[in-house]
């Protein structure tokens, strides 16, 4: 049980009062960020990333990760009370959470959500603990060709499993192109600078992410605001012991469904293109199919709240694993955490487990601590959190914008970055409106340099022959899998064309 020993050393790292304090601070910030409409967990992590440069690495990562976990819990409150999903993965929870709130059972729905989120995250944390080391050991044997193949799989999932393959391809290419601006990693020649000196320093990842997610979200929510009616629902936010007790009983009754949803969530979370959103919808669908009374779903079935919550919290945890082990983030938030790990002077990937075990296992231990803290705070302080929603928007919107500016400027003291925030905020708003996925762009931007390096190193190994990817025993199947993922939409199209049509008037897939 090597993993348990290592986990114990991780807990010893976290037991340090300062670090423990940063875990709790992160969770509280995350809960606030999750509750406030207009800032998701991704934005919260992105805005605070520059600040963490001034912290020691373990405190920094546990705080940022704490924001991520906290935001997952906080989002539940807004979804159920106000039908404002703070994140796309909170949508499935609304299907039954909202009707339950209308029936005056908001407190029960929230308690169930919190308790199940905790169990889902706990299952994922356990899987994380035991999978991390074997995964890292396999990954240690990877050379550049294998790394490149794995990176291709990551991008293949965006194209193959996302909504629109064309849009995903555009976003991936755009992210990569942004990352190539500046100097060529091998020859040192300036690329894509179009003769200007300002572009030579390249694009930093942080202002672009803050723009796309922070300002983009503020603008998007500003335009959707007229739909939101903050009723007197804040009163329903009081959770009694009775509700918690009831929620635990419902959970025990459906424990297998919850474990299944958590497992599904965890493994979907590992794939960059999939992640928490499809996991929550899938587990909702499966819970409905498995239920003895599926007709109650959508009308306030507690199972309909529990299944997606278990899945999306597990997926959030799962999305961190490939980032830590392979250096491939499974979600935009994981991508930002990865950028942070670079900034703190480490390189994410299997070597991290060998060189920085305290860092890795301190982080893994913080998964447990943060989730215990989050569920405890949620079950006791939900009324306080819900009060945050009463903060006037007129005050909140400018503060969020100012924080975005501060975060972007702090990273390299450049006013150009402040303008980038505005420009990418507008771009983010338009792309969001048109349903272009933003995750591939962010992930490609972060992975651009390492992908190019993996490819170039492979090609140097093989004297410029692409055949190297198909000659090695590990990279070959990975490469084939990646190519299949990229071609999946093509197969689907062929299948649709060959299948006999029942009705001639079929709506286009988009």
């Amino acid at each position: 049980m090597e993993a348990l020993d290592l986990l114990a050393t991780g807990f010893a790292q976290i037991a340090d009062p300062t670090r423990f304090g940063f875990v709790i601070l992160g969770v509280v910030l995350g809960l606030l960020v999750g509750v406030i409409p207009g800032v998701g967990g991704t934005t919260g992590v992105a805005i605070l990333l520059p600040v963490t440069v001034f912290l020691e690495p373990i405190s920094a990562i546990v705080m940022l990760a704490g924001i991520y976990w906290g935001a997952m819990y906080g989002g539940l409150i807004t979804s159920i009370l106000f039908a404002v999903p703070g994140n796309p993965w909170s949508v499935a929870v609304m299907f039954d959470g909202r009707p339950m709130a209308m029936q005056g059972k908001a407190a029960l729905a929230m308690s169930a959500g919190f308790v199940v989120s905790f169990v889902g995250a706990l299952i994922a944390a356990l899987l994380f603990t035991f999978f991390a080391l074997p995964f890292a050991e396999i990954a240690l044997s990877f050379g550049p060709p294998e790394m490149f193949a794995v990176l291709l799989i990551a991008f293949g999932t965006f194209v193959g499993l996302g909504g629109s393959p064309g849009k995903a391809a555009v976003m991936i290419a755009a992210g990569f192109l942004l990352s190539t601006v500046g100097f060529d990693v091998v020859t040192g020649q300036p690329r894509l600078t179009f003769g200007t000196i300002t572009l030579m320093q390249g694009f930093h990842f942080v202002p672009i992410t803050i723009g796309l997610f922070g300002v983009g979200e503020v603008l998007f929510n500003a335009s959707e605001r007229y739909k939101v009616k903050i009723e007197e629902m804040t009163r329903a936010a009081r959770l009694g012991f009775h509700d918690v007790f009831e929620a635990v009983r419902a959970m025990v009754k459906n424990i297998w469904m919850i474990i299944f949803s958590a497992l599904l969530g965890f493994f979907t979370g590992l794939l960059p293109g999939a992640g928490a959103t499809p996991a929550s919808f899938m587990s909702y669908g499966i819970a409905q199919k498995m239920s003895r009374h599926p007709e109650k779903f959508g009308k306030g079935a507690i199972e309909g709240v529990m299944a997606p919550e278990a899945a999306n919290n597990a997926a959030g945890t799962g999305s961190i694993l490939p980032m830590l082990v392979l250096g491939i983030p499974g979600s935009p938030t994981a991508a930002i955490l990865m950028a942070g790990i670079f900034m703190w002077g480490f390189i994410p990937g299997p070597r991290l487990f060998v060189d920085q075990p305290e860092f890795v296992w301190g982080f893994i231990a913080s998964l447990y601590v943060a989730n215990v803290a989050a569920v405890a705070i949620c079950l006791t302080a939900t009324p306080l959190l819900a009060m945050m929603l009463r903060t006037p928007y007129a005050l909140l919107a400018p503060i969020i914008i100012i924080l975005c500016i501060v975060g972007a400027y702090a990273i390299q003291n450049s006013l150009l970055d402040v303008w980038l925030v505005l420009i990418f905020g507008i771009i983010g708003f338009v792309l969001r409106k048109l349903a272009f996925p933003l995750a591939p762009l962010v992930v490609a931007l972060v992975l651009g340099a390492s992908t190019e390096q993996a490819l170039r190193q492979s090609l140097i190994m093989s004297d410029g022959s692409m055949a190297i990817f198909f000659e090695r025993s590990i990279s070959m199947p990975l490469m084939v899998a990646a190519l299949l993922l990229f071609m999946l939409p093509l197969f689907q199209r062929l299948y649709r064309m060959l299948r006999p049509r029942r009705d001639g008037d079929q709506a286009p897939a988009e």
Binding site: P165, G166, V170, A173, A222, L395, V406, I460
Partner: protein
């Protein structure tokens, strides 16, 4: 006017912009050398290949956008773009002002203006917000994290502390 700007049309314009970008990058890639050299790709190879992916993706998205029959307006209700501009324009102005007035003065003015104009709160509240927000920011950034922020010209002359 609002009915003219449909999701479909905006999507087509965005795709065309992406195609233009791809074209520009392909040009740049050709200039840098898009070929496969002795030891692997030349500097222009990556931009060139990526621009091709961008081009293909944008064309695909363009075709599926053009095929859409029903096209709902980009802004479903007039409130959408009014609220968007009400939030967006002051934010844009604030971002522009920072390079001149520095972070703290700009944030005070911006918050006070927004609370007064968008929130229509009485004068003592917007005044309070306009003072408290920059002061808290200053305390946090200056003393908490020791991060330097853009300052006003009066700071450089030694007249103001920010």
């Amino acid at each position: 006017m609002r009915e003219q700007i449909t999701v479909k049309r905006v999507e087509i314009v965005v795709c065309l912009l992406f195609i233009a970008l791809a074209g520009r990058v392909i040009w740049e890639g050709v200039r840098l050398g898009p070929a496969w050299g002795e030891t692997g790709p030349q500097p222009g190879f990556f931009p060139f290949a990526l621009a091709l992916v961008l081009l293909a993706g944008a064309l695909g998205a363009l075709i599926s956008a053009a095929r859409q029959r029903d096209s709902e307006p980009f802004f479903a209700a007039p409130e959408e773009w009014i609220d968007l501009l009400k939030v967006g324009i002051p934010s844009g102005i604030a971002i522009g002002l920072i390079s001149w007035l520095g972070l703290y003065i700009t944030s005070g003015l911006y918050v006070a203006f927004f609370v007064a104009w968008y929130g229509r709160y009485p004068w003592y509240l917007w005044l309070l917000a306009g003072v408290v927000v920059p002061v808290v920011l200053y305390a946090l950034l200056r003393y908490g994290f020791n991060i330097s922020m853009p300052m006003s010209p009066w700071y450089r002359q030694g007249i103001l502390p920010v």
